[in-house]
Subunit: 340 residues, 2 copies
DNA sequence: TTGTATGCGTTATCAT
DNA sequence: ATGATAACGCATACAA
């Protein structure tokens, strides 16, 4: 067992002062070559590394980024996280992750915990509960304290900070337009009550595409499903009671579930019914036929969020620059579940 | 903008000494009730929170755990991570994640970075490259410095530390035995060259089951696939050239791919060919038929790893207790891709 | 060229 | 009951 060595240890051992050691290791030209060589050799031999905590205390910056996401076992968040981690790491930052688990309290507690010096800034996507409550005081207080925050995907207009979002409206409209262009008129939307801002935009895009093409919006064709429960019966009923030619789903679980159910009901995909799902994850790639999807480019989103945050943290006066909202353009990936 | 308040600020404002403030906020009985009340009220009003970094420096413990995993976009690691995060959080620890991306260098660099004071201990699963190189000096050095490490899943006997593993051997044997019990004799193993220790154990379990049942091991029925490449042709050829009644796959991607290909080749699952895959992820649950799987209980594994680590970090003399290797029992989940 | 002193925010020990 | 001081590990302005 050989514990970590400090500047003090080196200084004592070599009979010089701590500051001499510090300067020598920074290659300061104040120090004579001989002394520097001696100290460097010693430090190298004992594998000296400066203590991050001490540096953080001194510099008032930790080089840690706090990431708070609602869920990690979810393809989209996972890829975003990878993007964040990758970029942050390249820039010399570490990433501390907290999972809010869709809970407001957890989000608040975790963020306050980290905000007491552990991190220099946050990247987060709002929990379902937070969106439902519409209570953002915890975020506002952090911003007030001068801690920069970047929101992604699940954002709120009430919070003044940098943001990264998907062009949900446009891509939903594009998807529905594709359905219409390939001959469908009776188009269903399978959505969830949880991802408020995003599913709202997607719904608006869906509606917009219908209106542009002079198709009446039929609310019976919009199915709102509870998350994380077995929806099989709800979905089955839905398709039994409605005549449908195309389906837009707000996530890939719904999409693959729908496909499976309508196939069992005897319909052919995409001949009888076309399907497009949000999130281009593995579920979509391994189904048969392969699902046409909307790729959200999570990794890119994560990278961009990290870039925005680090830029702001490293800019001399964080106050100066106005807050930006960057938009990631989703891509419609046409595969086997649509007529292309 | 109201920046964080410190003990010093409070002291100055209330015209008392820093140590009085510190003691008052800790409810020390050295301090008079009046002073305590005054200080507490002030601190509460200004939302004082002790600075984590300063505490870390003083206490020589950060309450941070470093987690290094090869990949995050992978159901198994994701669930393990969730288990770690959950338990760690409950115990007041934060989690810093680094993704080694299967690279030895990244693993080393990230760990050395974190080891300089940022974390109190590590939980990790070895990268593919590290396993291939069989070079564990970075881990040994950290252990030598007194930094506790818990390895999970991808471990090595060479490293002396706490470990958490799956009973890969037994569960593979159980799966193959199930195939045999339900009438299969020509049993294939689809494996990968990368996850060394685990796939080795799984292979041994496969072999053991065959031997117990006096079935000769036919190496032509063992297909080793490269990871992360398109294996469709390899798999197709494999099934065209071999007569097979059952397949054990070391991950769910292989399993669902195999199923899809053999269905296209005109075989019925499970009537003609049965399939079991390792990892009980969403791919398996959304395929048709639903895949029979081996649940690895990743979350439990993560929790246990975190528990082992925290126990060791918090025990007064870490040196005392001998290292443990805990075994998580996998579960064979029989669904639609096997005859049950 | 080298060393001393100070401070980052906190706590603990030892005065007063 | 309250305060001064040292220490955690490091960097830096300022002395010598």
């Amino acid at each position: 067992m050989k514990p970590k060595i400090t500047l003090k240890d080196i200084a004592k051992e070599l009979d010089v002062s701590i500051s001499t050691v510090s300067k020598a290791l920074k290659n300061s030209k104040e120090i004579s070559k001989e002394t520097k060589d001696k100290i460097k050799a010693f430090a190298k031999f004992y594998n000296y590394r400066p203590n991050n905590i001490a540096l953080s205390l001194k510099n008032k910056r930790t080089k840690n980024i706090g990431v708070v996401i609602p869920d990690i076992v979810h393809h989209f968040f996972t890829t975003v996280f990878r993007g964040i981690e990758k970029y942050a790491n390249e820039m010399g930052y570490n990433v501390i992750v907290c999972i809010s688990d869709e809970s407001f309290d957890k989000e608040v507690i975790n963020m306050e915990m980290l905000a007491n010096g552990s991190i220099d800034g946050f990247i987060l996507s709002l929990s379902a509960e937070t969106q439902k409550k519409n209570d953002f005081t915890h975020l506002k207080e952090l911003l007030d304290q001068g801690i920069p925050i970047v929101l992604f995907d699940r954002i709120s207009a009430e919070i003044e900070c940098d943001k990264v979002v998907l062009n949900d409206f446009e891509i939903a409209r594009e998807a529905v337009s594709h359905f219409i262009a390939t001959g469908s008129k009776k188009i269903a939307l399978i959505t969830t009550e949880r991802y408020f801002n995003v599913s709202e935009s997607r719904k608006e895009g869906y509606v917009a595409a219908l209106k542009t093409n002079e198709i009446e919006v039929d609310n019976r064709l919009i199915l709102t499903l509870p998350h994380d429960r077995d929806n099989t019966n709800l979905i089955t009923e839905f398709f039994q009671h409605n005549e449908i030619e195309a389906i837009l789903c707000v996530n890939e679980m719904f999409a693959v579930q729908c496909m499976s159910i309508i196939q069992q009901l005897g319909y052919a995909v995409p001949e009888d019914i076309s399907i497009i799902g949000f999130t281009d994850g593995i579920l979509s790639r391994y189904s048969s036929p392969k699902l046409s999807t909307i790729a959200q480019h999570g990794e890119k989103m994560g990278e961009l969020a990290a870039k925005l945050l680090i830029n702001r943290m490293e800019s001399v006066q964080m106050v100066e620059e106005p807050f930006k909202t960057e938009v990631i353009n989703a891509t419609l990936i046409k595969r086997g579940s649509t007529i292309n």
